[in-house]
Amino acid sequence: MDFIKGIFNVLADPRLYFFLMVLSLVLMVWKREVFTSKAVGYGVLIFLTLFFALGGLDPNFQLIITKPDNVPIVGLIFLLVFFTWYSMRQAVLNDQRIAKGEGPIEKAESDRVWVWPDLVYTELIALILCSVVLIVWSILLKAPLEQPANRAVTPNPSKAPWYFLGLQEMLVYFDPWLAGVVLPSLIIVGLIAIPYIDKNPKGNGYFTFAERKVEITVFLFGFVILWSSLIVLGTFLRGPNWNFFGPFEYWDTHKLEALTNVNLSEYFWVRALGQGLPTNYVLRELPGILLCLIYVLVLPPLLARRGFKPYLAKLGAPRFYVTVFLFLMMMSLPIKMLLRWIFNLKYIVAIPEIFFNI
């Protein structure tokens, strides 16, 4: 038993966890016919149920999943997995129909909108079930009222509400200005921009994957991996002092992590060239600044000419460049995470003098 728990604790390490999440997504997309079968669906459901049921016997894990604030996240995991599986399944089924020339299921009776009894009845049932869930929830889980707030006592860990845990996780890798202001704004801007940059007319009103491969993959990556899985990470695997703790590990507030991360400028000047750091911060951060400028200014046109040529044609230059910019911003998070994990890289550009770091 301890051995199995030990395996889970190891697998839950942020690096392996992230890698496993990405791997799962890749596999699900690549081998979608297999992964959307009912067998796999039930299998995943049973696995998750067993994991939470048996894992809940462990006192440390029990503390996490029975905390009233975390109960919805357990529900979130089930719901997220289900809806991702379900929509992919519908998409695969539709793709199969489209391949056969039949058109998607949704088009079959597209001149009617079924309201009575289909919509209304199901709405009623949903209403009843919602009420039942709320009633049972309110009986079983008490409001988590703690001691009177004390400005001299900071809770440890100090966690953001669940919908911001993804951003709080980003704070590990990015400066607060970027992780808290710039990137969230870009997320919102990006979401708003989607209708304007998405020129693919297909997939309107019906599930499909084959007709919108890139769009769906990119969105799933951004939502399931970068947003939701980081929320799950922040809920279950981050403990006191924002240290990593496996799901079955005891939350020891005295656990220490050596924070020995190195800035890019130090790598360049001190380690590679063997000199001291230059006093002028522009000169000092020049390598990093150049890298960032290349990433933002040189990479898009490069991509336009090489890998993404068809998209340039499809979208036109303005849309294309906006999309690529947003995409590159989104990918900056996993890239930074990898740089941190592989090179212990702290900041690409570190200018504490003006409180600006990347």
Partner: protein, 949 residues
């Protein structure tokens, strides 16, 4: 209407029907569950239990009160009632007539009364109109005036009519009374006798279960309207909760379950239905802490606003109770409230919230002994604590150690004081749980040697007053020590420090004192303690030099263990390494080594000694040269009771994470939190080990929990008056000077009684002293005590305190005797008419049989004897003598002084003088006593011989 076309469905409707049915059933079940959850609350069930218990208890009380009725009297009254009922029956016709006429009169009275009132109302209106009109138009209202006056006349007539009818009615009533008054009287008396019964019967009816109550008012879902099972709360406007951003009135819902807490009669029942102990002091409406204005949580702490057993943060008092609660209530440590309830045996720790910095709180014995222990152990010396500032250093001075002790003895003592004297309050600084391993021994020895060397090198030379005193007789000395009063502050053989208490260990234990120091030092000390230490609290016992020799010789026979010898002798290299450690913390290694090389062996030892004393804080308890102004090393404990448990470091010690457990562990083994850690020697914990046993540990935990943040506003505190200030200051003073070690004052103290065979052989109780003695006599006495009770072996020592302290004590006695005010002197004049009877009564009552007059009467047991009455005129307050003579037991319970004027026949007297009236007789004796002269007096000029033992 368009025909309904058959259309396809998105779903299988039959399946949906099943789903709908199932979900509806779920909804129904969960609703029932929700209603049930609200109905089945913990506190409601407790209240249901209580209604049954209350019914049972009230029925029992009813039965008891029925039994308690005087049967004979009741029968008599009932007979009386029967007789008068019969006579009423006999006169039934007449009575009915009278009642009819009464009815008539009542009707008439009603009409006439109404007419009078209406007339008055009309008159008032017209009068007002008249007055208003007259103001406008002063002339030309003559007519109106007459009208108004006529109306006034009418009103008067009406009133007269009313009065007439009322008189008629009264006469008729009196006539009726002739027939019915007896019955009414009998009924009234019966009602008086059965008052309690009737009250209880009505109560039973009210609380009996009924259909309406059980099936409507308290029914599930209907009980939102007017339930009988309700949450009860006490909101206290003056007592506040500090919720960090605000102070809010406390809202205590404890009485929701503790329903009988303020009702007598439930003392035997299990919690939560038990009556609060000591209702006269706490919770009762006539107590100083009535529940309605004090609430519960200000004393007991915990979350008052909760109605659930666990959330209220109840805390078990002992492991057995903890287990019970875990089984019965699924009790777990309270996590969501920073200030869980105090275990019941520590409740008195909360007295401090309002009784700020009072060292003695009446009716709170646990916290009082907790503070005595805290002071005697000297915790305040290292740990600054509010309320314990500016107290003396608890240990003896070390500035003259040369003249008293040898280096070897001091080293053995310091190494393990408990091996020499197991009752001592000196703690063990070295060889504790974090410095016990063989690797630590050389370091310990180096530090001890260095510290002792420092003390001796910085000691003044002390020349005793008598250089080579003669020896005496140890048997006589022992007799003196055991009888004269030394045992009030010193123990000799006792070995249980907690059982003996902080008062009898106020002075150093005398065990092994013979092996400790020289005869010459002991002689000089007993003879004149202030010569060695001018600030000592040891008083002068006024012994003659031969007596001093006897006592000192006896003390030298008290030899004992010489303590723990050194396990190793450190080499010079090891000592140097220790000093290097100290220096390295202050400067770079190279510099430290350089400094070390420059010093010679002696200088190194003295330097190390000084650093050792500075590190371990010896100077906090002892006067040491060079450390006069050094700040103590301990944590400030002034708000330790309010500390959050998250601030305490539990390290690797496996104890429950609560404040009380931490304090318990820390007091049990202060260095235990170092276990399992990797630490530099100078990073280790320093608090020494006091060998507290469980009793002392709990006392100190109570004391620490009482050091709380000041949260309660001034309106909650006891009102400040001069009397209160004197009382508080005096209570502290008589404890800090250990007066209470010998004397019982205000119900506390008098530990000396444990070493005498008869309590009358102990020093007298001083509670009535302020009301009793004249203050200037008391002042003179305290300056230079005389013998008041020559048959006692104990004697009042000469303390030699300053005027400030004596006056504080006198003010305290006056305040507690309710006779505060300017010091009065008394001029006495005796009435000649009283002189004769006074002297007669004095002889008749044979006062001289017990009250000594110079010689001690041989025919009386010692416990009967009383002070010389010739001291009365300058010693006793005249008003007090009257109170004393009337009822001595009330002033001094257990006294042998007879009560000559007991309640019957008081105010008459059994004696014939002065008309057989008690008061004049009492006054006559008092006046006679005030004429007596020639007794011992502290006010006589110095040089006059005083009688001493």
């Amino acid at each position: 209407m368009a025909e309904k076309k058959a259309v396809g469905h998105a779903y299988n409707i039959d399946f949906l029907n099943v789903v709908f049915a199932a979900s509806s059933i779920f909804l129904f079940v969960s609703t029932i569950w929700m209603v049930w959850d609200d109905f089945d609350r913990e506190w409601k069930n407790t209240q249901r239990q209580f209604t049954q218990l209350e019914l049972e208890v009230t029925r029992q009380q009813l039965a008891q009160s029925e039994r308690g009725v005087d049967r004979a009297k009741m029968q008599g009254l009932q007979q009386q009632l029967a007789v008068s009922q019969k006579s009423i029956e006999a006169n039934r016709q007449r009575i009915d007539e009278i009642n009819d006429r009464m009815a008539d009169i009542d009707a008439r009275l009603y009409r006439v009364n109404q007419a009078a009132q209406f007339a008055k109302a009309t008159y008032d209106v017209n009068r007002y109109a008249f007055e208003a009109e007259r103001k406008e138009n002063p002339e030309g209202i003559g007519e109106r005036q007459k009208e108004v006056e006529a109306e006034a006349e009418r009103v008067r007539e009406r009133n007269l009519e009313v009065q007439k009818i009322e008189a008629e009615r009264a006469a008729l009533q009196a006539e009726l009374g002739k027939y019915t008054s007896q019955a009414a009287e009998a009924q009234k008396q019966i009602a008086e006798i059965t008052f309690e019964q009737n009250r209880l019967r009505r109560l039973v009816q009210t609380i009996e279960p009924s259909v309406v109550k059980d099936y409507f008012r308290n029914a599930p879902l209907l009980d939102f309207m007017a339930p009988t099972l309700t949450v009860r709360q006490i909101v206290t406007p003056n007592v506040v909760d500090d919720v960090n951003f605000a102070r809010v009135a406390k809202m205590d819902r404890c009485t929701t379950c503790h329903l009988a807490i303020d009702r007598r009669g439930y003392e035997k029942y299990p919690q939560p239905f038990r009556t609060h102990p000591n209702l006269q002091a706490y919770v009762g409406s006539d107590s100083p802490h009535p529940m309605a204005t004090t609430g519960c949580t200000v004393c007991h702490q915990g979350l008052g606003g909760s109605t659930s057993f666990n959330d209220a943060s109840h805390y078990p008092g002992n492991p057995k109770q903890r287990q019970e609660w875990e089984e019965k209530y699924h009790w777990h440590e309270p996590h969501m409230w920073d200030y869980p309830m105090l275990p019941t045996n520590m409740t008195e720790a909360s007295c401090q919230q309002c009784h700020r910095q009072e060292v003695y709180v009446p009716n709170a014995p646990k916290v009082n002994v907790a503070y005595s222990t805290y002071e005697r152990a000297g915790c305040y010396a290292c740990h600054k604590t509010k309320g314990f500032e500016n107290l003396r250093k608890p240990g003896p001075i070390l500035t003259r150690i040369n003249g008293k002790l040898t280096e070897d003895w001091v080293k053995n003592w310091v190494r393990d004081p408990y091996a020499v004297k197991n009752v001592t309050w000196m703690p063990k600084v070295w060889y504790n749980s974090n410095s016990n391993s063989p690797a630590d021994h050389p370091r310990n020895e180096a530090e001890i040697n260095a510290a002792v060397a420092y003390l001796f090198a910085n000691s003044e030379t002390y020349t005793p007053a008598v250089a080579s005193p003669p020896k005496g007789n140890p048997a006589a000395g022992e007799q003196i020590v055991r009888s004269i009063g030394c045992l009030g502050c010193h123990v000799i053989e006792e070995s249980d420090r907690a059982a003996v208490g902080p008062r009898r260990t106020f002075g150093q234990p005398l065990k092994s004192v013979g092996s400790k120091t020289t005869y010459a030092w002991l002689y000089n000390w007993v003879r004149d303690p202030k010569h060695y230490n001018p600030a000592t609290y040891m008083p002068d016992l006024r012994l003659t030099d031969p007596q001093v020799a006897d006592v000192a010789t006896y003390l030298t026979t008290l030899t004992g263990s010489n303590g723990m010898p050194a396990p190793v002798t450190p080499t010079q290299a090891q000592s140097d390494a220790v000093l290097l450690d100290y220096l390295r913390n202050l400067m770079p290694l190279a510099e430290a080594q350089g400094r070390l090389e420059k010093m010679d062996v002696k200088a190194k030892q003295l330097d190390l000694g000084q650093r050792v004393i500075a590190r371990y804080g010896c100077f906090s308890c002892h006067d040491i040269k060079g450390f006069e102004n050094t700040q103590p090393i301990g944590v400030d404990l002034s708000e330790e009771g309010s500390k959050l448990v998250t601030r305490l470091d539990f390290a690797f010690v496996d104890i429950e994470h609560s404040k009380l457990e931490w304090f318990h562990q820390k007091l049990k083994d202060p260095r235990s939190f170092d276990q399992g850690r990797v630490l530099e020697p100078l990073e280790k914990l320093r608090m020494p080990d006091y060998h507290f046993n469980d009793v002392e540990n709990e006392r100190l935990q109570t004391a620490i929990m009482s050091f709380q943040r000041d949260v309660q506003p001034a309106s909650a505190l006891p009102a400040r008056t001069a009397k209160r200030d004197y009382t508080v200051r005096g209570r502290a003073l008589v404890r800090r000077q250990n007066c209470v070690g010998c004397h019982e004052i205000e119900g506390d103290g008098g530990d000396y009684r444990t070493v005498v065979t008869d309590p009358t052989l102990a020093p007298p109780m001083l509670t009535p002293e302020g009301a009793k003695v004249q203050p200037d006599w008391l002042y003179a006495f305290l300056q230079a005590p005389i013998t008041i009770r020559p048959w006692l072996s104990v004697r009042m020592p000469t303390f030699g305190l300053d005027d400030g302290r004596w006056n504080a004590i006198i003010d305290y006695f006056e305040a507690s005797g309710n006779s505060i005010g300017p010091f009065r002197t008394y001029d006495h004049a005796e009435l000649t008419s009283m002189a004769g009877p006074g002297r007669q009564l004095f002889d008749l009552l044979r006062c001289q049989q017990c009250h000594v007059l110079g010689a001690i009467p041989a025919d009386q047991p010692l416990s009967n004897l009383a002070p010389d009455l010739r001291m009365t005129h300058e010693r006793l307050k005249p008003e007090w003598i009257l109170d004393w003579l009337r009822n001595p037991q009330r002033i001094q319970p257990g006294t042998r002084m007879p009560q000559f004027w007991p309640a019957p026949p008081y105010p008459k007297s059994a004696y014939p003088q002065l008309g057989g009236e008690a008061e004049p007789q009492i006054r006559a004796i008092r006046d006679h006593l005030m004429t007596l002269r020639g007794g011992p007096s502290p006010k006589r000029p110095a040089g006059t011989a005083q009688s001493t033992n």
